[in-house]
C-alpha cells in the first residue's frame, strides 16, 4: 500500500450546547493513501463535514470534545501546538468549502487572499507570491487570470469563485485536499466542470482528496473509494464500483434508490427512505439506522454492529448484510 496521507482512527466528536451533548461523530475510521480520492457520503447532520473539519481541528475547542486519533502524514493533529497547526492548515492540507461566496473574505480580492496565504507559509516577496497566484489561476483554468486576480469574490461567477477557492487551497502545494461539498452550491453544468477539474488536479499533482458530499453522482465522478456515513458512523466503505453495483447496507441501497438520475419516469415517485435520522443528542443504543430499516430485527436494536469486511476492500456495518447478500445472489 502506498504512503498513508491521512489516517483517522476511532474519531469521536461531541459538541456541547448548554446542557445538551451532541455526538456528531461516533467513531470514524478512514484511511487515505497518497493520490487517492475518497468520497464521504451522507445526508445533512450525518457527521461528514465535522469529520472533515477535525482533520484541521477547525471546530472551536471550547465547545468541542474530541477523542480518537487523526494523523496527517503520520503526525498526530491533536498534539500539534498553535504553530504546528498553522503549518498544517493550508500548508500540507488545503480545504475547499461548499459556498465560495461565504468562504472567501468579501473585502479582499481573490488575488490578495492567495498572496496572503502563500506568504503566511513561505518567506517569499509579494511579487513572487503574486506570480505564483497567477500560475495557480492558470492551473485551475481561470480565463484571463491576470484580471481575475484583482476581482473581489462577488464579482466572479459561481464557477470561477469555486476555481479561485481551489487555487487558494492549492496555494502551498498540499498533499491532501479536503473538499466540503464543493459542487453543491453550483449550477449543474458548472458542477461537472469543477468535478473534472478536481479529477485532473488529482492526477496532475498526485493529490489525495477527501471529498464530502451528499451527491452520489458527484462521488462516482471523482472518487476511487466511497465511504457512507450515517449518524456519525461509517456504515459502508468500498471501491466505487462495488458500492454502487452491489451496495450492502440498507441505507446505501436506500440512497441509491432515491437518486434522481434515470429514475425520473413520469408518474412515478422517487423512492425515499422513510423516517428521519436519529437525534444525535439521544442516539439509539443499537444500529442508528434500525428505526428506518425494513430488515431490522431485535438484535439490530440491542447493540451497534461492527464494521465487518465483506469482500476485499469492501466493509459494511450491518448484521443482516451477509444474509441479505446471499439471498440476493
Amino acid at each position: 500500500m502506498a504512503e498513508r496521507v491521512l489516517e483517522i482512527r476511532g474519531l469521536e466528536v461531541t459538541f456541547r450546547r448548554g446542557e445538551e451533548r451532541i455526538r456528531a461523530v461516533a467513531g470514524v475510521d478512514l484511511t487515505l493513501a497518497a493520490g487517492e480520492a475518497l468520497a464521504l457520503i451522507g445526508e445533512s447532520g450525518s457527521g461528514k463535514s465535522v469529520t472533515l473539519r477535525q482533520v484541521l481541528r477547525l471546530d472551536p475547542e471550547r465547545t468541542t470534545e474530541v477523542a480518537g486519533s487523526v494523523r496527517v502524514g503520520g503526525e498526530e493533529v491533536g498534539r500539534l501546538d498553535r504553530r504546528g497547526l498553522r503549518r498544517l492548515r493550508g500548508g500540507r492540507v488545503g480545504m475547499v468549502f461548499q459556498e465560495p461566496l461565504l468562504a472567501l473574505d468579501p473585502v479582499y480580492t481573490v488575488g490578495q487572499q492567495i498572496v496572503e496565504a502563500i506568504r503566511a507559509h513561505e518567506p517569499v516577496s509579494r511579487a513572487e507570491a503574486r506570480a505564483r497566484a497567477l500560475e495557480l489561476f492558470r492551473l485551475v483554468h481561470v480565463p484571463s487570470p491576470d484580471r481575475r486576480l484583482d476581482a473581489y469574490p462577488h464579482e466572479l461567477s459561481g464557477g470561477l469563485r469555486q476555481r479561485a477557492m481551489i487555487a487558494l487551497a492549492l496555494a502551498c502545494r498540499p498533499q491532501l485536499l479536503l473538499a466540503d461539498e464543493p459542487t453543491t452550491a453550483l449550477d449543474a453544468t458548472v458542477q461537472i466542470q469543477v468535478l473534472l477539474l478536481l479529477r485532473e488536479l488529482q492526477e496532475r499533482l498526485g493529490l489525495a482528496i477527501l471529498f464530502v458530499t451528499h451527491d452520489i453522482g458527484a462521488a462516482v465522478e471523482i472518487a476511487d473509494r466511497i465511504a457512507v456515513i450515517y449518524a456519525g458512523r461509517i456504515v459502508e466503505e468500498g471501491p466505487v464500483r462495488a458500492v454502487i453495483r452491489s451496495p450492502l447496507h440498507p441505507y446505501t441501497r436506500g440512497l441509491l434508490a432515491s437518486r434522481t438520475e434515470g429514475a425520473l419516469v413520469k408518474g412515478r415517485r422517487i423512492a425515499a427512505i422513510p423516517g428521519s435520522p436519529p437525534d444525535l443528542a439521544r442516539p439509539p443504543p443499537g444500529c442508528a439506522f434500525a428505526p428506518r430499516c425494513s430488515l431490522a430485527v431485535e438484535a439490530c436494536r440491542r447493540s451497534v454492529p461492527r464494521l465487518e469486511p465483506f469482500a476485499p476492500g469492501h466493509a459494511v456495518r450491518c448484521l443482516r448484510a451477509p444474509e441479505w447478500a446471499a439471498s440476493a445472489a
Binding site: L58, L88, L102, L104, V107, Y152, L168
Partner: protein, 317 residues
C-alpha cells in the same frame, strides 16, 4: 471613485439649499416677536417699524429668505439682535470651541468604544464580554447632564482637582493650547464621550460577533493564517459599518450638546443656541442652526465617500 465623489458633492448642493430653507422657515414660523427683547416695553410704533425695517422683518418671507440666502452665501449671516455683533463671528468662535470639545470626546469615546466592542465581540458570553457590555449599556443609558453634575461634584467640589465650568481661566472663551485650558476641557469631554463610547462599543460588539460567525473566518483559519492576520480581516470587514456609526456620532457631537455645554458653561454652539432661543435672537438662531445643519450634510458626505472607498461591494456596484 473620483467621478463618484464629484457626483456625491453635486447631490449635496440641493440638500444644502433645502436645509437652509427649512432653517429659515422653522425660525420664522416659531411664535414670538424678535424685537421684543431689544425694544423697551413702551416703544412707539414708529420706533418699532424703524427697527423692523433695519433688520428686514418688514419684507415678505420669500424676499427675506432670498436676501438672507444671498448674504449667507458670501459668509455674512447678519447681525445678532442681542449683542449687535456679526453672527458669523459669534458662530465661528462657538463652533471652534464645540469642535475642540467634540474632538476630545470623540477621541476618548471611539478609542474606549472600539476596545470594549472588539473585546466583547471576540470573547462573546465570557465575563469580559459581560463587563464591557455592561459599561457600554451604562454609557448609553446614563443621562449625561446627570453624569456631568456627578463628575463636577466629585472632581471639582470634593477633590478640587479640576475646574467645574468655563473653557479657560478667567472666563476665557478663546481656546488656547495650554494646560490651564486643557484642565477645563477634561470633565465636559469625558461626560460627552460616554454616549458615543456606548454606541460604538455595542455596534462593534454585534458587528465583530457577526463577522466571526461567518464562514470565511473558518476559511481564513483553514489557510493557516495567524490569529493576528484573522484579526486584520475582521477589522477591515468591520470598518465600513463602524465608520458610518462613528461619523454619525461625530456629527451629533459636533452639533454640540445644549445640556452638557449648559452644565459646564462651555461657550460652544449648544450654549449659543440656548442663549439665542431665550433672547429670541432670530439672526443668531438662524445662523447657528444653518451652520450646524450644513455640518451634518458635509459630514455625511465625507462618511459616504470614505465608506465607499473602503468597501469594494459598494464601490463597484
Amino acid at each position: 471613485m473620483l467621478r463618484y465623489t464629484f457626483n456625491r458633492v453635486l447631490y449635496a448642493l440641493p440638500i444644502m439649499l433645502g436645509v437652509s430653507l427649512v432653517c429659515f422657515l422653522l425660525v420664522h414660523i416659531a411664535p414670538g416677536d424678535p424685537l421684543v427683547s431689544v425694544l423697551p416695553p413702551d416703544a412707539t410704533e414708529a420706533l418699532r417699524r424703524q427697527m423692523a425695517e433695519l433688520y428686514g422683518f418688514d419684507r415678505s418671507l420669500p424676499e427675506q429668505f432670498l436676501r438672507w440666502l444671498a448674504r449667507a452665501a458670501t459668509g455674512d449671516l447678519g447681525t445678532s439682535i442681542a449683542t449687535a455683533r456679526p453672527v458669523a463671528a459669534e458662530v465661528a468662535r462657538a463652533v471652534g470651541n464645540t469642535v475642540t470639545l467634540a474632538a476630545f470626546a470623540t477621541l476618548i469615546g471611539f478609542t474606549l468604544g472600539a476596545i470594549f466592542g472588539f473585546v466583547a465581540g471576540y470573547f462573546r458570553d465570557s465575563p469580559l464580554d459581560r463587563l464591557a457590555s455592561a459599561l457600554a449599556v451604562l454609557g448609553v443609558s446614563v443621562p449625561h447632564y446627570w453624569l456631568g453634575m456627578v463628575l463636577v461634584i466629585i472632581f471639582s467640589a470634593q477633590l478640587g482637582w479640576l475646574p467645574a465650568t468655563g473653557a479657560g481661566p478667567g472666563g476665557s472663551t478663546e481656546w488656547v493650547w495650554d494646560w490651564e485650558h486643557f484642565r477645563h476641557l477634561i470633565l465636559p469631554a469625558v461626560t460627552m464621550s460616554v454616549i458615543p463610547m456606548g454606541i460604538v462599543a455595542r455596534t462593534l460588539r454585534a458587528l465583530v460577533a457577526e463577522i466571526l460567525s461567518q464562514e470565511f473566518v473558518m476559511g481564513l483559519r483553514a489557510r493557516g493564517l495567524s490569529e493576528f492576520a484573522v484579526f486584520r480581516h475582521v477589522v477591515k470587514n468591520a470598518a465600513p459599518t463602524a465608520l458610518a456609526v462613528m461619523g454619525l456620532q461625530l456629527g451629533y457631537l459636533l452639533g454640540g450638546s445644549i445640556l452638557i455645554e449648559t452644565v459646564f458653561s462651555w461657550p460652544g454652539t449648544g450654549f449659543l443656541l440656548n442663549a439665542a432661543i431665550f433672547q429670541r435672537d432670530l439672526p443668531l438662531l438662524q445662523g447657528t442652526i444653518l451652520v450646524l445643519a450644513l455640518f451634518f450634510v458635509v459630514l455625511n458626505l465625507l462618511v459616504d465617500v470614505v465608506q465607499t472607498a473602503l468597501d469594494p461591494r459598494i464601490r463597484r456596484a
